[in-house]
Amino acid sequence: MLLFLAGFVIIPLGVSIFDSFFQVSLLDVDSREFSGIQNYIRLFSDKNVRQAFLNTSFYVVTALTAESVLGILTAVVLKDKFRFRGIIVAILILPWALPPLVNGVIWKLIFDPSIGMLNSVLMRLELIEEPFIWLNNPDISKICVIIVHIWKMLPMISIIFMAKMQTIPEEILEAASLDGSGKFKQFFTMILPNMRGIFLITLIQGSIGAVHLFDEPYYMTGTASDTRSLLIEDYLIAFRKYDLGEGMALAMVISFSLLIMIVLLMILVRRGTKDV
């Protein structure tokens, strides 16, 4: 295991970190020129990077919010046994199991202005007269992209929540209802406090997923600036501008921001637990 890790992760990672402090062109990787943190400084003054950063922030915030809220709701309904629950859960998990590339294909066909499903439905229902543009409409393009991402992630998150809720002993819940507390109160006093740890896990999974967003926006809208994610920007810098140093610097910034975010989440959730 350690061998694998060393060979295929640690060493390449080392080289990449090293490169991020040099001026290296992808076209001539053997001539390096030390440039200190020049690459990093350039990143922060690049308006495309800033735009991509904003986009990714939007993705992270909306994805985490939607996944948590909808995830909890789905889980509350699904946690108790009912007929066909197994089948419903199986159906629910389907989007998560599909390759992201295929998701891109599926949703492109749905959002397509003239032959897509969405416009056909809306036009048939006479809600719109003209085909509506979804993916390249600056007002909603980001939302379309994140919906596709959430579509994939939500099933997993719901199921994790559901499983955790099922581990809360029935007796506690029964005792609570004997007390006369209503369903809602029961939910907030009994279930939610027990969910803190699991929240952390889903938030971490959710943020990794949202920060690593690439296939979906790239397939659906190309490099359009209002949907461009940080990883797409990184790809453009390293492989289109051939600026390996800056590209690797951005990759490092992305990784570290993500790590810091996760640590912050951990601290927040820990503190939250102590307060109650």
């Binding site: 992808l26 076209l27 001539d28 990787v29 959002f111 397509d112 202005p113 003239s114 003209e130 085909p131 543009i133 979804w134 993916l135 390249n136 409409n137 600056p138 809208t221 190309g222 490099t223 359009a224 600036s225 209002d226 453009l236 492989f239 289109r240 501008k241 051939y242």
Partner: protein, 415 residues
């Protein structure tokens, strides 16, 4: 010079097996999907004739370029023959990744080749053209006659007025077809119209020439954005790539495919595939004051300097440049040739629909960059497409957009 060196090395290296000529050698050929069928059909014959076996690798465009760049930076040949797009000449030439082909092909070949100069880098031909992908304008004549337009304008702005007429009369809701998504194809109509209106994109020092109001570049962009604003272009164009446009046009949507692929001439006129085969016509690209110019997004094939089977690779390149093969390649697969001889005989045999116009258009092809394609072309093209996409979406005005495109070129030029 570099070429000679490479050959010497090769010869010493291959000394022990060179006696058996290239028998039993295997070469790999890396190309995008549109060559797959045509080449696969031909490879058995080539293998039989030469004893060289060929392995065809097919990749989509963007990953293909990434693969070439990644391999070459690691001093490994991505394949023995690869795709070589016209705009890679500057970048790949400076990096020295490709073998000069001057001596691999004979003089007759070079003389007959119309587009070879696009691959000239410091006196060396880095690739051999394979697909002469110049742009022409296709019209659906039925829409024009229904709108009462008997004479089809050759002036770009008059053509736009004709499109307005077609729209007003309800013949075609969106008469003009062009893509405006943030993918490379969006830039082609702009580049082409700039040429056709008699202008250039940059001066000799790569300073932008399109920011002034009376420049061809400015007017060409105005043409496109006006067409989009007036909804002569389907509003959905901001979602569409070049390929989507072709599919919709072939299906009968739109009257004017302003910057159509040369290879589509076989598709559009093919009654099995196209709903407009009876009424489509090819014309010279509309320009101004009776002029017309276009450019070619030429594709070629080259041999990476790191290849270990250069001679065998050259054999294959020669094979697919035989007259016979080029003809089938065009007739059956729509790959437009660069050989004058082949084009002439195709026109004579009436295998090119609208052959006369096509041959006229051929005379108007000019390099997009007479001063040489800049190394940063690929990046700039991507950024330009992104900005045009933003302009169409109303996030930038015409002036702002063109200025941003110019700034991006300046920045790349300095960096």
């Amino acid at each position: 010079m570099a070429g000679c060196k490479g050959e010497e090395k090769k010869e010493t290296k291959a000394a022990n097996d060179s006696t058996q000529s290239q028998d039993g050698e295997e070469i790999t050929v890396l190309l995008p999907p549109w060559y797959e069928e045509g080449l696969t059909a031909a490879i058995p014959d080539f293998e039989e004739k030469t004893g060289i076996s060929v392995k065809l690798e097919i990749m989509e465009w963007d990953p293909l370029r990434d693969r070439i760049v990644q391999s070459c930076t690691s001093n490994k040949a991505p394949a023995d023959i690869t795709e070589f797009s016209w705009d890679w000449v500057g970048t790949f030439g400076a990096a020295g990744w490709y073998e000069p082909l001057n001596d691999y092909m004979d003089e007759d070949f070079w003389e007959d080749c119309l587009t070879k100069d696009s691959y000239l880098y410091e006196g060396n031909y880095l690739a051999v053209p394979i697909y002469n992908d110049f742009r022409m304008t296709y019209l659906n004549t039925k829409d024009f006659s229904e709108a009462g337009i008997s004479e089809i304008p050759t002036d770009a702005f008059e053509l736009l007025e004709a499109a307005e007429k077609i729209k007003e009369q309800g013949i075609e809701e969106y008469p003009v077809s062009l893509p405006l998504s943030a993918t490379a194809g969006a830039t082609t109509p702009w580049f082409m119209l700039t040429k056709s209106l008699g202008g250039e994109l940059f001066d000799d020092n790569y300073k932008a020439l399109f920011t002034e109001k009376d420049s061809a570049g400015y007017q060409a962009m105005e043409w496109i954005m006006k067409a989009y604003e007036e909804e002569l272009v389907n509003p959905a164009a901001v979602d569409y790539q070049g390929t989507d446009i072709v599919d919709h046009y072939m299906n009968g949507d739109g009257s004017i495919d302003i910057a159509g692929w040369s290879g589509n001439v076989t598709e559009y006129f093919n009654a099995d595939k196209s709903a407009i085969s009876d009424s489509v016509e090819v014309v010279k690209v509309p320009g101004a004051n009776g002029s017309s110019r276009t450019y070619s997004l030429l594709e070629g094939i080259g041999i990476p300097a790191a290849s270990e089977h250069k001679e065998a690779a050259a054999e294959f390149i020669k094979y697919i440049n035989t007259e016979e093969f080029l003809k089938t390649f065009f007739v059956d697969y729509g790959i437009f040739p660069s050989s004058q001889k082949v084009i002439d005989s195709l026109i004579e045999s009436e295998d090119i629909p609208g052959g006369e116009v096509v041959s006229e258009v051929l005379g108007t092809i000019e390099p997009l960059f007479p001063q040489g394609a800049p190394e940063w072309y690929g990046t700039w093209e991507g950024e330009t497409a992104t900005i045009m996409n933003q302009m169409a979406k109303g996030e930038m005005s015409l002036e702002e957009g063109l200025k941003a495109i110019a700034d991006s070129a300046d920045e790349l030029n300095e960096g």
